[in-house]
Symmetry: C2
Subunit: 439 residues, 2 copies
């Protein structure tokens, strides 16, 4: 088996993902040469601190602080950016593209905010950007959308794409932990950042649905137009009560085609227990894709962590060395710099079931007033649970509605909240039933 | 958006998959041109009967009986073979390759038997064979193995890859149908062929594990070395009793790396109810792939049917037109004609739990004799169920063992079958617990 050529790589950013990527490339160099005929050579690790790289046992001769030396090295063909964030990472990627290096990145925030400009810059420089690792960790979901399912008009994608949130919700559902306890568990397991804001407020999932949705529908999705709700204000009472009624709470990112445009959302939602995504637990991710020809397909795996993310980063490196990714990148018209802005469905039109919870004083006619407010908007009840009062104070009343538009539901919800018997915080959560295949 | 060029396609074989493929290519021609810049033009439908093609509303001007005219047409770049079987289909593919046409096929039987020769022929002619549709219908699992997970040493694959068997087993588990009733249901639904032999005897799944295993492990897997057991002799009693004990019976195809070589199997096996593959129901397929870097990933979707299969066929057509598939096909060293024969693990070494069922005369000491025979081989019991005798005849006794090698278990099993208290047919089924990730 002959080696056709060498392909030089620099990894910029030696944190968890960067160190795991460099380690995987170095450990597997012979295996990759055997598989591809191309020798993948890590020529530099660029950072200002190398604790992680040292701990991963990486060759100290590769450590470099000088990015410009790397960028001017003609034997380096590709830069892996694993710095993260929106500032330095962007500069690094731009410099790499100007130096006509291919780029591989796991940086979903950067691509969701500035992907269009970065893709256009790469194109103008005749190089490509690989970003499989930016969405759902090790799961090859980007490839599924731009290659494996290319024959399909995509009708909908539904994803559990934030492992931290999913771990927290799984601990709340399965172990009865409060949100705060579950978050502390996630941090103790190394799954949540010291500052977990972007994970738990839904923004990380919004980054991913922006990227995946743009590819799936061949339309630009502006990040700021994705309605985002996180899991950080959830009450264990609702998680548990929903569970008793047969529903599992998940942070769901969705993009689906409707008659009036694309519906986008990131929100905590109840899934019926037999929903295909309901059993995706702990740190795992899954993305359901509904194609017009293929029907329902689903992709499942670890959404984060050094080694699974490195798997996706290195698969991109290999595809770029092989020329297959650059061919897709330069030819297909699915990338955000090649497409128009998506037409979005008007808000409030989405029609689905809802979980409602009110705190009710047990007065004569109170329940009748609630059902009347729903009936007023043509909303009928699927189930109704009223817990016993233990102290004479207000008691929680939980309602599962039949399908209604968000618009109608929110009007009824406001009317109910204004009833004299209803007190304090009221909750409305979406129920996502299994998407119906069109085939 | 300019059209860079035309890509001409002939579909040979106008059955369910062929007609669906041609229909999808024709319906989506503008969408594909927009996505790829290449105009995919169906130039001929070759068959001797065109009822299916007519029913699908395909243009009669495309109908052709003369394959040689198609093969000599320089404007046809690719032949889709959807004839099936081992004889005519092979000739068609060979002729197409000799005419230097790319080939796309869903023919798993042909590739499992003769893939090595056909791949080598394609390579010598400078063209490629696309076969995403041959394994697990519309699920892009071939691409996952040769592209998305390329960074990984694959450790194991476990698949539910025969939709007919899975439909039958789902009907037995969920609805208490006998094997015969469930098969009749599958035939009524159009899921089982008039002759369902290859589906229910496990051979179809063996074809698929031969193809997928060869790619996953980069080693040739000779079809005749896959131990195959079907679902056609299963008794509803065992399916139901296993279900009561918390297990779901599935036809599982597996290939996994062990210290002594590759373990291969196609067999009905019990999965614990929380196993990742246990909820794959009805006509759906799923394949779990365990990679050394990525850990567990799973791919789920419809394993058969005209439209899902056409999705995979057409994705191959697009990848060939784009040049990405030919690049992988000509460069990677994973294809069976580029690899050595796999070293297989010796039979009997596989270690797992078992479900055993005996018909026992309720004699003094009979149970003690069974447990003694198991203890003799160091096999301990996980659970033991003895049903009541209703007529004084033998009663079924069901045992779930702890882990034991197949070798030890089969010796104990034979010893038990030879006991005077044991009468008639005895059953031994594998239990497949969730594979442990190495990350």
């Amino acid at each position: 088996m002959g080696i056709s050529r060498e392909f030089g790589i620099a990894v910029v950013g030696c944190g968890t993902v960067g160190a795991a990527t460099a380690a995987l490339l170095c450990q597997q160099v012979e295996a990759y040469t055997k598989k591809t005929g191309i020798r993948m050579t890590v020529r530099a690790l660029v950072d200002v601190r190398f604790d992680g790289a040292r701990a991963a046992g990486l060759d100290e001769n590769l450590f470099q602080e000088d990015l410009s030396a790397v960028l001017s090295n003609p034997d380096i063909h590709l830069i892996v950016e694993t710095v993260g964030g929106l500032t330095i990472a962007r500069t690094i990627i731009e410099k790499a593209l100007y130096a006509k290096k291919h780029v591989v990145t796991a940086n979903k925030a950067l691509l969701a905010h500035h992907g269009t400009e970065l893709f256009a810059l790469a194109r103008s420089q005749g190089v490509s950007i690989g970003f499989e690792a930016s969405c759902a960790g090790g799961i090859p979901i980007v490839r599924a959308l731009v290659d494996g399912l290319l024959a399909n008009d995509i009708e909908a994608i539904y994803g559990i794409v934030n492992g931290t949130s999913n771990f927290i919700l799984t601990a709340m559902v399965d172990e009865g932990k409060t949100y705060g306890e579950a978050l502390a568990m996630a941090q103790a397991e190394g799954l949540a950042e010291a500052d977990p804001t972007l994970d738990v407020n839904g923004m990380d999932a919004a980054h991913k649905v922006t990227i995946l949705g743009s590819l799936a529908f061949g339309e630009q999705i502006p990040l700021e137009r994705v309605p985002v709700e996180g899991i950080d204000s959830l009450d264990l009472f609702d998680v548990s009560t929903g569970h008793e009624l047969g529903y599992v709470l998940k942070l769901v990112a969705l993009a689906r085609s409707t008659k009036t445009g694309l519906e986008l959302a990131v929100q905590p939602a109840f899934l019926p227990q037999n929903h295909p995504l309901a059993r995706v637990s702990g740190p795992f991710n899954a993305v359901s894709v509904y194609g017009k020809a293929v029907g329902h397909t689903m992709y499942y795996g670890r959404g984060a962590g050094g080694s699974p993310t490195a798997s996706a980063v290195v698969s991109d490196v290999l595809s770029i060395a092989l020329g297959t990714w650059p061919a897709l990148f330069s030819t297909l018209k699915l990338w955000p710099d090649c497409t128009e802005e998506a037409r979005l469905a008007p808000t409030g039109e989405s029609r689905h079931r809802h979980y409602l919870r009110f705190n009710l004083h047990d007065e004569q006619g109170a329940v009748a007033a609630i059902t009347a407010a729903l009936a007023e908007k043509g909303i009928s009840l699927n189930s109704f649970v009223q817990k016993e009062s233990t102290n004479g104070g207000p008691v929680p009343v939980v309602i599962i509605t039949h399908e209604a538009t968000e618009h109608d539901l929110s009007q009824a919800f406001e009317a109910i909240c204004a009833l004299p018997a209803v007190e304090g915080e009221a909750i409305c959560l979406r129920i996502i039933d299994e998407h119906v295949e069109s085939i």
